[in-house]
């Protein structure tokens, strides 16, 4: 397959699929699904340890030597909370590549773009590689790029909704508006949604629930890997133009005559 790699924070990735680690039936099932997805970047949340400690750790199942960890700031409702969470993640040894979320509303989980922009600016200045989860707005995407975002991650639909890419035209406009990678984050429900994102020209897709909440997460992870590759190839290949009427695929000349 001919293709270029995805570059984030000076690091090269062959896979264009980023997967989460939440909501799996078991750690073992998660481990198998991540393996099947072919993802090299894996999202994690930063949360309180249960007390007393010594419980099982997520990282017993996701080898940080094998995968690049992408700590998120899910659950943060202000720039301040999100920034502090990133500092904690860095101190915990989870690295400086961060999925930045500043949530504006608990029902839709839509981003608070003002807080997002502020946190992107601060964290980029502090040396983080910031991947902000944003809405599908090309104006905001450009502002985030200008603020130092290493990629922009517009939602296809609300987090965990599985509604697919609701506004492909806006995603296309975002692709025109910025030069940093565009990764669709949130909204993917099944393989065709991931393929559509890639056919639009997106650089990658981040997903969690579509895989973790499938009846068979390992099979869905495989489907997603193939969909991302298929969508990417179709984009690179360049699709045919759309036409309203039929155009025959077989020659019109040389049709034998059967009239007596």
């Amino acid at each position: 397959m001919y293709d270029t790699s995805l570059w984030l924070g000076g690091k090269e990735f062959k896979s264009r699929l980023i997967v989460g680690t939440g909501k799996y039936p078991s750690f073992e099932n998660m481990r198998e699904a991540i393996e099947a997805s072919g993802a090299e970047i894996v999202t994690v949340a930063v949360r309180r340890v249960s007390l007393p400690g010594q419980g099982e750790s997520l990282l017993d199942y996701v080898d940080p030597k094998k995968y690049t960890l992408l700590p998120n700031t899910a659950g943060c409702y202000t720039a301040d909370e999100a920034i502090r969470t990133c500092y904690l993640a860095r101190e915990a040894g989870l690295g400086t590549l961060v999925k930045l979320e500043v949530i504006g509303d608990s029902r839709t989980l839509f981003p608070d773009v003002l807080g997002l922009l502020e946190a992107t600016r601060t964290l980029s200045r502090e040396g983080f590689t910031v991947l902000p989860y944003t809405n599908d707005d090309p104006v905001m995407a450009k502002k985030l790029e200008d603020a130092g975002a290493a990629a922009v991650m517009p939602l296809g639909a609300p987090i965990g909704s599985g509604l697919g890419i609701r506004n492909p035209y806006n995603i296309k406009l975002i692709l025109e508006a910025v030069t940093v990678p565009v990764l669709v984050d949130a909204g993917v429900g099944t393989a065709s949604d991931a393929a559509i994102a890639m056919e639009l020209g997106c650089d990658g897709v981040l997903m969690n629930t579509a895989i973790a909440s499938a009846k068979d997460p390992v099979a869905m992870a495989t489907a997603m890997r193939l969909a991302i590759e298929a969508g990417r190839l179709a984009f690179k290949a360049g699709r045919m133009g759309k036409k309203l009427y039929a155009t025959a695929s077989s020659p019109l000349e040389g049709v034998p005559e059967w009239t007596s």
Binding site: A45, R47, R48, E91
Partner: protein, 66 residues
């Protein structure tokens, strides 16, 4: 003294360090971070950082998320 650890009030001996607290609670050190009164405590400072009455400690680690 009373110190709040991960939202839970705990009765702890005076002058306990962050290092002592982590040992006492049997916290795995790998991929764990500590914030004391909203500020991140650097790993290298755990032993010298003493807790005081009313302090709020957050001990975090990676968990499943997307």
């Amino acid at each position: 003294m009373t110190v709040t650890v991960n939202g839970k009030p705990m009765e702890l001996p005076e002058g306990l360090s962050v290092e002592d607290l982590l040992a006492r609670l049997k916290i795995r050190r790998e991929f764990t971070a500590v914030a004391l009164n909203r500020e991140v405590t650097q790993r290298a400072r755990y032993a010298e950082t003493r807790l005081a009455e009313g302090d709020k400690v957050e001990i975090v680690h990676p968990m499943g998320g997307g």
